[in-house]
């Protein structure tokens, strides 16, 4: 117990870690806020620069960026009506109308404090639930891991993309790319085309930098010169009566946020949209109608998207399955540092788990401090010329890819994926499932083979086991449900039952 406490506060007491968390959170707020910069981009590029660090140092920086970034998107959503990050899309719906009425300061203050509440709820749930899940996870059979991975990919692919087919394609592509190289079980060559370079496989970091960094920067060149809108910002610190009034709603939507965040494959963006929907449903008579600056419409999504951060760490640390795109990148970083997230992590490395919990709490507190101060500088920084920003992102992408192995071949892969990602995004494919796929590929392949070997290569027996084991059955039917929910028949039924739910 004392040990856990000392790990918990490790980052609070060591000046270096404290500083890294502060820097990470501060940077995260701006990365999240500046449209075109994303947390996934920043964390992917940083992985290659933090290779040589101790794992806790690297984690402190990434946790800070994650926490700050999810919140930071709300600021540009409120001030400019441009969500700086996908998780802030719902925030713009009522935040921007508030700003137009001259209440930008009030909106930012409220969203900051509510993000803090949400973040805190998420962390508490992480601290309580992860040990339980991890004990439960020891009961998981290879089959269940395989099903969980499928579920994660399907959720990412189906919820955020243009069509399920494109999402599934992207996920399968990522899985396939993950198999390139020598097969870890039999040492057979897979897709190496006789090249020695290819035997080590494709570096997931190069793929991530390409898909999240280069492709996004290239895409942003399409709309380089967006006019900035000036807003009057004052009175940041929200009133106590407001906080008291919206706390119950915040708690409800935080719960939604944690659950959505903890589902493999779904993150803050979906949590925020669902929370907005929930806020709309439970608020019977808002002071201001939704869409015209209702504070409830701000409180809901902002609590939820930060609560999803803590939630997303649960499957990552206990099952080795990322909760969303950012945790997919962070899991990549943990692999590089020689850690193997999964059910045994909490037993073998409890220090890392408690460090993460404590560090996220710290990042959350920094987020509150930075969120309520420095707004004047903020409005200056987000106006920084994009013509300088994008060359810098590309420069860091190239240097980042180079420093993975000090070789140019990773740079070529990175650029190749950058171009692929550019076209994929342009034609409505999601790149998130590709990254999730390459991270989960090994887990899926291994567990599929273990599962089918344990059934003596008998496919009917495999399916029989899947339906008769309660856990596998639940996962299997969840997957079926996800697939079904994408078919036109289901959509027609849903529209018929709840006409209000059908949103564009």
């Amino acid at each position: 117990m004392m040990d856990a406490l000392s790990y918990l506060f490790a980052s609070w007491l060591q000046p270096e870690l404290l500083a890294l968390t502060a820097v990470g959170t501060f940077a995260g707020i701006y990365i999240g806020a500046i449209p075109g910069l994303s947390v996934t981009m920043a964390v992917s590029i940083l992985i290659s620069f933090t290779f040589g660090w101790e794992v806790n140092h690297a984690l402190a920086l990434m946790n800070g960026i994650f926490m700050g970034g999810v919140y930071g998107g709300s600021r540009t959503a409120i001030l400019l009506n441009i969500p700086g990050a996908p998780a802030a899309i719902a925030t713009a719906l009522d935040g921007y109308p508030m700003a137009k009425k001259g209440e930008a300061g009030n909106a930012i203050g409220l969203s900051t404090v509510m993000s803090f509440f949400g973040g805190f709820v998420g962390i508490i749930v992480l601290a309580v639930a992860a040990p339980v899940v991890s004990e439960f996870a020891i009961l998981f059979q290879p089959r269940d891991y395989m099903l969980l991975a499928v579920m994660g990919i399907l959720l990412v692919g189906s919820l955020s993309g243009e069509s399920l087919a494109k999402g599934v394609f992207a996920g399968a592509l990522g899985m396939l790319l993950g198999t390139v190289g020598l097969d870890p079980m039999t040492a057979e060559q897979r897709f190496t085309f006789g090249s020695v370079d290819m035997m080590n496989g494709i570096s997931p970091v190069a793929l991530m930098i390409g898909l999240f960094g280069v492709s996004e920067a290239l895409l942003q060149l399409h709309n380089l010169h967006l006019a900035a809108v000036k807003q009057k910002v004052d009175k940041i610190v929200p009133s106590f009566s407001d906080l008291k009034k919206y706390l119950p709603l915040s708690l409800q939507t935080s719960t939604i946020g944690v659950i959505i965040g903890a589902l493999p494959g779904t993150g803050g963006d979906i949590a925020a949209l669902m929370a907005y929907d929930h806020a709309k449903r439970v608020t019977k008579d808002p002071e201001v109608p939704f869409g015209q600056g209702a504070k409830e419409g701000l409180v809901g999504p902002e609590s939820a998207n930060n609560a999803a951060v803590g939630g997303a760490y649960i499957p990552m640390l206990t099952l080795g399955i990322p909760g969303d795109a950012v945790t997919a990148v962070i899991i990549g970083a943990l692999f590089i540092h020689g850690l193997n997230p999964g059910p045994l992590l909490l037993v073998e490395k409890p220090d890392m788990f408690w460090f993460t919990v404590g560090n996220l709490t710290l990042a959350n507190i920094f987020m509150l401090i930075f969120g309520l101060t420095g707004i004047k500088i903020f409005t200056k920084i987000i106006e920084c010329p994009k013509g300088v920003l994008f060359p810098l992102i590309l420069l860091l992408s190239v240097v980042g890819a180079y420093s993975i192995n000090n070789s140019l071949s990773d740079v070529w892969w990175m650029l190749g994926f950058g171009v692929l990602g550019y076209f994929m995004k342009l034609y409505g494919y999601q790149v998130g499932p590709v990254v999730l796929g390459i991270i989960l590929s090994r887990l899926m392949d291994d567990n599929w083979r273990r599962a089918i070997i344990s059934e003596q290569e008998n496919l009917p027996a495999f399916f029989y086991g899947m339906i008769t084991s309660p856990l596998s059955a639940v996962l299997f039917f969840t997957i079926l449900l996800i697939l079904l929910s994408q078919t036109p028949v289901w959509k027609a039924i849903k529209m018929h039952a709840h006409p209000r739910l059908g949103r564009g």
């Binding site: 040589g52 399968a172 396939l176 097969d183 039999t186 420069l395 034609y427």
Partner: protein
């Protein structure tokens, strides 16, 4: 989420390319171990590439059913590959090629100089200032603070750093 009734320029070509790639990868996956066993090295890649073939076929057929965007190659250049993206891609390519031989400092400086000048279309003095400030910032953060190994190339930066160190060390 938007729904499109017309395809975007070049969409069908991209979807067809993905379909072709999927077929090729399926064939390659088959080459690994054929249909020998469900737990073979090739089974999982074959399953994944099969999913790719099916889904990309669905996407291709659907996109073929949409109305043609019209505008021909001009529309493609405008919506998909505007000059800024094309020129910039060439800059990145040139940067990657020269990174090792010229070294991080010189190659990055030239890359930033050209790309900032191209994107901002500002005065050369301002561009020069922005490029120098950016490169110093990146160098200090990544090379000196993060200790990332960057290709040295033709500028003897280590010697310069050592000289600066000596200078300050000597003056104490």
């Amino acid at each position: 989420m938007e729904t499109h009734n017309t395809r975007r320029p070049g969409e069908i070509v991209f979807n067809a390319a993905l379909f072709g790639f999927s077929l090729f990868m399926f064939w390659q996956a088959y080459q690994i171990s054929g249909f020998s066993a469900l737990s073979s090295a090739g089974a999982f890649p074959m399953a994944m590439s099969a999913i790719m073939v099916i889904t990309s076929a669905v996407v291709l057929i659907r996109s073929a059913g949409l109305a043609s965007p019209g505008g021909g190659f001009a529309a493609f250049r405008k919506e998909v590959l505007p000059p800024a993206v094309l020129v910039f891609s060439l800059f990145i390519l040139a940067y990657s090629v020269t990174l090792k031989s010229l070294g991080f400092l010189l190659a990055s400086f030239l890359f930033l100089l050209f790309s900032i000048w191209y994107l901002e279309r500002g005065r050369i003095g301002r561009t020069l200032l922005l490029a120098v400030v950016s490169i110093v910032g990146v160098y200090v953060i990544f090379r000196l603070v993060f200790q990332v190994v960057l290709p040295e190339g033709i500028i003897p930066e280590r010697a310069i750093l050592a000289a600066i160190g000596d200078f300050f060390g000597g003056s104490n």
